[in-house]
Symmetry: C2
């Protein structure tokens, strides 16, 4: 708390009366000034998990204490396997047990799983209370900070139950990334790299030339990576808040990625690892459709590898991959919709022949 705090970037998210701002900087969590844009209310509730709460909950509590008469902490079990109704209900039990009213502010302190669940709880509790995102993983900072997607998993599919619900404020404290395990950090880089192929080749160039700085978690490099990722995502989401069209391009790598996660059981691979590998598969499918050349696919694949990510898919077998992808939310009447790269920097959503998808799986994954 004695450490100097500095906001390096502010990214405004323009969504009419649901607009908010993302603060990116160092030493932000423990600084009371970071929270001035959040509503004051009788009750504040920090939702975190068993890994993050011991590290940062006390700092956050001290910083927001002046804003609430009562402050509660809900600690969830950590991990994607717990992104279920049963865990979500722990939040509702606490909110009702403490007599929290409809002005209660929920602070999501953790990675994507905590953010998705705390956000969904905020969307549903008394049909909606304000919430604030405090993402503590790189993946959450560059992905779930923008877009308002919240939700839980169902045994038959990931993120199948949820809501679009915007936070009032997002605070990305880069200091917290120092305690992130290497695998989690790399998983976050997968989503950073994603924004290159789908939207901005000059950002891809920048990542390539700063991958060493990013890997050693240099604050200025991280600040730029988080800022540019949020800006690109914000531009896409601003045009299509409820994912009727354009926004689907953000799911580049996610169709194959979700199949990997569901096929291995949630939690075996990290979400970002599955997405990184899914990007390789989606690029390979784009190449086979004549959209990309081999050198460019290899260039991005190599960058993913330098970011510490797996680039060969697990051996689920083509039938299982196809079956899992048919329940993807983008699927329409059973037809799988892929996010493909039409040319570097431009994504497109389209279907592809099953035979070609099977070739990609044979080529990019371990043999079944």
């Amino acid at each position: 708390m004695a450490a100097a705090s500095s906001v390096l970037h502010q990214v405004p998210i323009a969504l009419g009366d649901r607009s908010y701002s993302i603060a990116i900087g160092a030493g932000l969590i423990g600084d009371p000034a970071s929270w001035s844009a959040a509503p004051a209310a009788a009750h504040g509730v920090i939702v975190s998990n068993t890994t993050v709460a011991p590290l940062y909950a006390r700092q956050l509590q001290a910083a927001i204490a002046p804003r609430h008469q009562q402050l509660h902490l809900v600690v969830l079990p950590d991990g994607e396997v717990h992104k279920t109704w049963a865990t979500l209900n722990l939040i509702f039990d606490a909110l009702l047990g403490h007599g929290c009213d409809r002005k209660t502010v929920i602070y999501a302190l953790g990675g994507g799983v905590v953010g998705d669940m705390a956000g969904f709880a905020a969307a549903c509790y008394m049909r909606g209370v304000p919430f604030v995102q405090v993402p503590t993983t790189l993946l959450a900072q560059v992905d779930s900070s923008v877009g308002g997607k919240t939700g839980i998993n169902h045994p038959l599919g990931k993120n199948m139950i949820g809501a679009f619900y915007q936070p009032r404020l997002v605070v990305c404290d880069l200091d917290v990334l120092r305690t992130l395990p290497p695998r989690e950090f790399s998983a976050g880089l997968a989503e950073v790299i994603k924004y290159g192929p789908i939207a901005d080749t000059s950002f891809l160039d920048w990542i390539e030339s700063h991958i060493e700085a990013l890997m050693r978690r240099d604050t200025d490099a991280l600040a730029h990576a988080v800022r540019r990722s949020c800006e690109i995502k914000a531009a896409v989401v601003g045009e299509d808040e409820r994912e009727s069209g354009l926004r689907a391009v953000l799911n580049f790598g996610h169709t194959f990625g979700h199949a990997i996660e569901a096929g291995l059981g949630y939690g075996a691979w990290l979400h970002g690892e599955a997405v990184g590998c899914g990007m390789v598969m989606a690029m390979e499918l784009s190449r086979r459709l004549g959209l990309l050349d081999r050198a460019w696919v290899q260039r991005v694949t190599s960058l993913l590898r330098r970011a510490g990510l797996p680039t060969v898919g697990p051996a689920l077998g083509a039938d299982r991959y196809l079956q899992l992808m048919r329940v993807d939310k983008k699927a329409e009447a059973g037809e799988i919709r892929f996010v493909l790269i039409e040319r570097p920097g431009l994504a497109v959503v389209r279907s592809a022949p099953d035979a070609l998808v099977r070739e990609v799986i044979a080529d990019c994954c371990r043999p079944a």
Copy 2:
């Protein structure tokens, strides 16, 4: 199906890009023309319950069959006690089990409980799919048709988990009210009568002079009652879709009413019965605050009695009433907010001294 169908009234609900229309008439469910404003999609899912499905599901299926390649029926157990996550999950299981995509149309065929759960499932499934309300109780036709409130109960409070989510279309078929048990019909009349004290004394006059016609379920009288109720509610909701202020007046009778329902256990009294009795208590509280005279309170109480409703509250004891009312969604920082009648035709939301509330409970309820 051979019966002539006729739309007697259309009530437009103006909510910007979430606007929709309520059709009120006879023979509507079985007429394919009734559904032309609903989206066509590969999958259609009728959500109903064990009481309503045997009566009307086949009619509805036949009428909407041309609009969907696959039509599924989900039959839930009947009753407020089943308005839980476990029952809601039956809908998600069916949607995912049938491979329903994000364009799937959900039809809620039943009373308020079915509408609230099917609507909440539609709000959450893949973060939102279109839904159509087919309310089969008077209460659902005059209350849940307008306003977009959806949700489920939590052991610690009614409707604590939910969403604001608008239907694409509401079809109120008055013919279905003929099969409604007398208690349920009376419960619906409680919400019709409610609109008089809070908004329209001439409508209250009309109800008084048509209460016999309504009690014998005369189609024209019902058509007017449903229409006028929906119009009044639409005017209120149109000004305050997310219940930040004005809309709370629609909860007249609900603060005491929810305490009755929760105190006796959901399902012991019907929601409308509890609300009717809650209205008597809220009027009595208004009278003790000097807002209403005794004659007017007696006049409305007598009308509720002629509508077949209980007007004396159960013996929960004042402490329990107060405890239950403090978790009401309108409560702020533990202070109960009551919807009171400032003068006939005008409601106001305010708090009241506990001592006065205790007097009302002593006066309006059976001794504890």
